[in-house]
Amino acid sequence: MSGRVLVGVKRVIDYAVKIRVKPDNSGVVTDGVKHSMNPFCEIAVEEAVKLKEKKLIKEVVAVSCGPQQAQETIRTALAMGADRGIHVQVTGKDYETLGPLQVSKILAALAKKEDAQLIILGKQAIDDDCNQTGQMTAALLDWPQGTFASEVSMEGDKLKVVREIDGGLEMIKINTPAVVSADLRLNTPRYATLPNIMKAKKKKIANVNPADLGVDLTSRVEILRVDEPPQRQAGVKVETVDDLVGKLKDTGRI
């Protein structure tokens, strides 16, 4: 299978930052806070670049939706080996309410426009932990999906995906075009090299409007309130498993 891979990359608050809730509980503080590429998206980019190095695909296109700063995230993908970028411009209120439904509509439209044969996404973003975009994109395109991928290989025009599931590992074979969402153990993302960072400067990033893709960004979800998780209470030591089960029943946990 030769052709184009779309990789979605999301700009999120850096994983090492301590998150703080805004005083008005409307959301999380993002101003002046360090952002970087979602770690699962890094894994997705790495997988796409690996496929290109194995000559199984021809072109890796990095896509990000958001305001001007989303270009930084695309540049990181370019520095890792993506060939070109697409910046879907979403700003202001639209960006605040941007969620998996809107992004998957955008990705589906781009996949058709770019004649993509594979979409690789991170399994979820570390800010909203939705784990929906990959699945929704596949549904909108009516493509098969290989989610929570810990291994991806190509066999002719089929994709073999090993998925991490609750019971262990599941291996599936799906037709292409398809959507794959990357899990933690799929690969270890490479460091960008200094020469690649410099080469990335010359790679093209196209600017696109959601309206041009015919996508309606209206959100069906309204965030009412954001709170910090409750402070962790001290635990209680129990003597036996029966005690444990009893206590859990008492507190209504099981």
């Binding site: 850096d14 090492a16 609750d166 460091y191 090299t193 020469p195 990335a200």
Partner: protein
């Protein structure tokens, strides 16, 4: 036992999610330079921020977890340095046609500052290696550049800078190692002291006397390991910089081809000093990284440690001390980056500025790291805590590549000489 079934499923699901986040967080979270007034990414171009990010990530993932072990076991981390070279850190300001990354002095300073947060000693050696590669790149002829630079840029081979002798440190121009011309070879006799990497490295850039007394009689020769007559002293036991071996380098009738001479006879001292201008920025940059890491460690400690019923961060003396440390760190950083820019542009004040930046930054950053250790109390003195290694490692930055006293000589000479 039946109740254990659903319980186990819930527990595993929860731990699956937590494990993902934990695994991500474990990838070295503490020294990532998270945004605050001391964030080293302020004022940088997008491209420089990318360079810095790679260096920070490499430092956090590949160096920081091993920094204590490398120090205690005195390990020269060849594999890790070669990994760094794969990213382009082997010849950062060496030209691309011989395998270098062709970046500016400022880019280099930013990179070494970030790498240093992972391990000062290893980063400092990488900077010395870079300096030697640059000297060959800049002053070597085509054959020499093509022979030595590619392997140095990939760190297939490692380099050492040999100027200091037992009898000539600050008074470098009085060096005694002689190089007598005999046909198409120079015969070297003498010894060099305190050579970083000495004995474990492959390429030695040696300043030696081919002519008369003083600076004008000095030439620069590249000596390869394995040359008959080249031997090494015992490995020195040091307070810090333990991830790089330091040895005397001894020449006994060591024959070196004339084709290994960089530049002209008598140009050696000039080459050495030009190398050191950049070397001083690099060493100062390493001090910046150590100070930055130490300020963050101190801050984290103040937020956690409680005495007299509250966290240390509520103590005004410590708040003010932390503020002073941060201010001096940023001041040092600005001097070093300005010096890097001046050197890159070939400005007339470049040499003085490099000396000032080295003097200021190494002194200030040592004090910052020392203060950070103090803020840790007794814990700061334990080798389980990284802050003591930062203190020990950067102490020597006030001494080598030109003592801070010599920096004062250079600066005062500039002020007092009639122009």
């Amino acid at each position: 036992m039946a109740a254990v079934g659903p319980l186990a499923r819930i527990a595993r699901l929860g731990s699956h999610i937590c494990r993902n986040r934990q695994l991500l967080c474990d990838r070295g979270s503490n020294r990532r330079g998270i945004a605050s007034c001391i964030d080293p990414s302020y004022g940088l171009t997008d491209e420089q921020k990318e360079f810095q990010k790679v260096a920070f990530d490499f430092a956090a993932n590949e160096m920081a977890p091993h920094m204590a072990e490398w120090d205690q076991k005195e390990i020269f981390p060849v594999e890790t340095m070669r990994k760094a070279a794969e990213l382009g850190f082997g010849g950062i300001y060496v030209q691309p046609d011989v395998g270098g990354s062709g970046l500016s002095r400022l880019d280099t300073s930013i990179i070494f500052e970030a790498l240093s947060t992972g391990c000062v000693s290893t980063t400092a050696y990488i900077s010395i290696h870079n300096m030697c590669a640059w000297m060959i790149d800049t002053f070597g002829n085509t054959e020499q550049r093509e022979k030595f630079c590619p392997d140095l840029c990939t760190m297939e081979k490692f380099a050492s800078y040999c100027l200091t002798e037992p009898g000539s440190g600050s008074d470098a121009a009085s060096l005694l190692t002689t190089a007598q011309r005999k046909g198409d070879h120079y015969i070297l006799n003498g010894s060099k002291a305190f050579i970083s990497g000495g004995g474990d490295t492959d390429v030695y850039v040696v300043m030696c006397r081919t002519g008369g007394k003083g600076a004008k009689g000095i030439s620069c020769l590249v000596v390869e390991k394995g040359t008959p007559g080249l031997s090494f002293g015992k490995k020195e036991k040091k307070v810090g910089w333990n991830s790089q071996p330091t040895r005397a380098v001894i020449f006994e009738d060591c024959a070196v081809p004339v084709t290994n001479r960089l530049g002209e006879e008598g140009q050696g001292f000039n080459i050495a000093m030009k190398g050191l201008n950049g070397g001083r920025i690099n060493i100062a940059s390493c001090s910046l990284g150590a100070a930055h890491a130490s300020v963050e460690l101190a801050r984290d400690h103040l937020l956690v440690r409680k005495q007299f019923g509250e966290t240390l961060s509520n103590n005004q003396f410590l708040q003010f001390k932390l503020a002073e440390m941060a201010t001096r760190l940023v001041a040092s950083r600005l001097m070093v980056r300005e010096a890097a820019t001046a050197l890159q542009e070939g400005r007339r004040d470049a040499v003085s500025l490099c000396s000032m930046a080295k003097l200021f930054a190494t002194d200030e950053c040592f004090n910052i790291c020392n203060q950070a250790l103090q803020m840790h109390g007794g814990y700061g003195y334990l080798k389980d805590y990284a802050v003591q290694q930062f203190v020990r490692d950067i102490r020597v930055h006030q001494i080598l590549e030109g003592t801070n006293e010599v920096m004062r000589m250079i600066i005062s000479r500039n002020l007092l000489t009639e122009s």
